[in-house]
């Protein structure tokens, strides 16, 4: 690890290791997508893409791109054997209906009650866009957040109360950052693991709400 804690690849590998074998998984657009690169040998996961695909495979070779086979981030993908296509209402029936085992999402803020903010900064004049974030966060059985521990200017993103507009309330089970893996239970943040060499006091100082040690 670097002085700043785990690298993005190390974090993605950690998330991939934690997802139970056989899970149906939705990876949010952006950093969560990297989790797919680190699935341990012998573990079988089925990836869901909310635009209408279950059994999503890796990116295609440049000469095998089909612009009508894309993921939720609108990037070309492939299918694996066992894949299925379906329309939007069926895709979100899977999501809203509680059929997705794990969804890994990015976030602006996560509160100690599991509230999630990841769709809008609320900045005046910004063009709002929500996509499937609200549906995924209420619908998936477990929400893992993968994000930096603090903002670029050092403000905590794990907070007592979210100040950005909510995506969903009380939904996040676990947060992965470069500094720590933190569970959320009915009493708030609980440390699961911290980056090697990081003193607990330092971690707490960079976190906006109390963390309990198990």
């Amino acid at each position: 690890m670097s002085a700043e804690g785990w690298t993005p690849d190390e974090i993605a590998r950690r998330v991939a290791a934690d997802i139970p074998d056989g899970s149906f998984v939705n990876l949010g657009i952006g950093r969560p997508e990297a989790v797919a690169n680190f699935i341990p040998e012998g573990k079988e996961l089925v990836f869901h893409s909310e635009n209408g695909l279950l059994g999503m495979g890796p990116s295609p070779a440049a000469n095998a791109i089909d612009l009508e086979l894309i993921n939720a981030g609108k990037k070309p993908v492939t299918t694996v054997p066992g894949a299925a296509f379906f329309h939007q209402a069926d895709s979100f029936a899977m999501i809203r209906g509680g059929h997705i085992d794990v969804c890994v999402m990015g976030a602006l803020q996560v509160s100690s009650r599991g509230d999630l903010a990841n769709w809008s900064t609320g900045a005046p004049g910004a063009i709002p866009a929500v996509g499937g974030a609200m549906d995924l966060s209420v619908g998936a059985k477990a929400i893992f957040v993968l994000m930096t521990h603090t903002t670029k200017d050092g403000q905590p993103k794990l907070v007592e109360d979210i100040t950005f507009p909510a995506t969903s309330r009380g939904v996040v089970s676990r947060v992965y950052t470069e500094l720590a893996v933190i569970n959320i239970d009915t009493d708030g943040f609980v440390l699961r693991e911290s980056a090697p060499g990081l003193a607990f006091g330092d971690l707490q100082a960079r976190t906006g709400a109390p963390i309990r040690r198990p």
Partner: protein, 250 residues
């Protein structure tokens, strides 16, 4: 916040195939709500229902379009007094003697639901929709006890989702992930019942290799299915009834 998942691994590969119908239904508990596929005999998972009969779970709520015929399948389950309550649209048929008798004797409860409302309530259960409004049954005895609200100047009835602990469904083909394809009008309630149950158990005529069902032609995606069991030559109700078979627990 939601439950944390354990990281304990089960099988190295996703494999929902079960060898015997008996094993597929072994853990169904007394008092469970069971969604049973089929419209008449088309799509009726007779072997799974007989396995449930042999398994012995009682005090069941059964959600199914019909209430069984003759003395086989769902009718045999009712005859063995395993079903406390039926939720269906059309319990009456030329040959629904078993249900008729228990109903007239006040020994089985019936919730009568219009067929389209039944289908939509089951889909809602699978899609995470707790309730919806429909014009169906407004102004009729079946709206009794339900909230009625006007939309576009017309009365609509509030209907709630139906979910099952278990679905028993018959399909044509399945792979080890649980992707399904059906045969003709036997599709009927199968896809939505698989969506709406905690554990969808499916008997299929043929297990196929992963990838054999074209992704464009999958009707029930694997995510909705818990167990698949091959029954290559399923019985049909008509034949069993014509043979005078009276299926009892074994």
């Amino acid at each position: 916040m939601k439950a944390n998942l354990t990281t304990q691994d089960s099988n190295p590969l996703i494999d929902k195939r079960i060898n015997f119908v008996g094993d597929a239904v072994a853990d169904i508990r007394d008092g469970a709500t069971i969604l049973i596929g089929g419209f008449g005999e088309a799509g009726s998972p007779i072997e799974l229902v007989h396995a449930l009969l042999d398994q012995g779970a009682r005090n069941l709520t059964v959600v199914s379009n019909n209430a069984g015929n003759g003395h086989v399948g769902l009718a045999a389950l009712i005859e063995a007094r395993r079903v406390a309550r039926m939720v269906c649209s059309f319990p009456r048929s030329s040959n629904s003697v078993v249900f008729d008798e228990q109903f007239k004797a006040g020994e089985i409860e019936l919730e009568l639901v219009p067929q389209g409302t039944l289908a939509e309530r089951i889909r809602a259960g699978g899609a995470g929709i707790p309730a919806f409004y429909t014009r169906t049954s407004a102004g009729t005895p079946l709206q009794e006890g339900k909230e009625v609200r006007d939309f576009a100047g017309r009365p609509h009835v509030l209907e709630t989702a139906i979910r099952g602990d278990v679905a028993l469904v018959k399909a044509e083909r399945a792979d080890r992930w649980g992707n399904l394809a059906y045969n003709k009008t036997a599709r009927n309630f199968g896809p939505i019942m698989c969506m709406a149950a905690d554990q969808a158990i499916v008997q299929v005529r043929r297990l196929v290799e992963l990838g054999d069902i074209d992704p464009e032609h999958v009707i029930t995606p694997s995510i909705f299915v818990g167990r698949v069991v091959e029954v290559p030559d399923p019985a049909d109700e008509t034949t069993l009834i014509n043979q005078g078979i009276k299926r009892v627990p074994q």
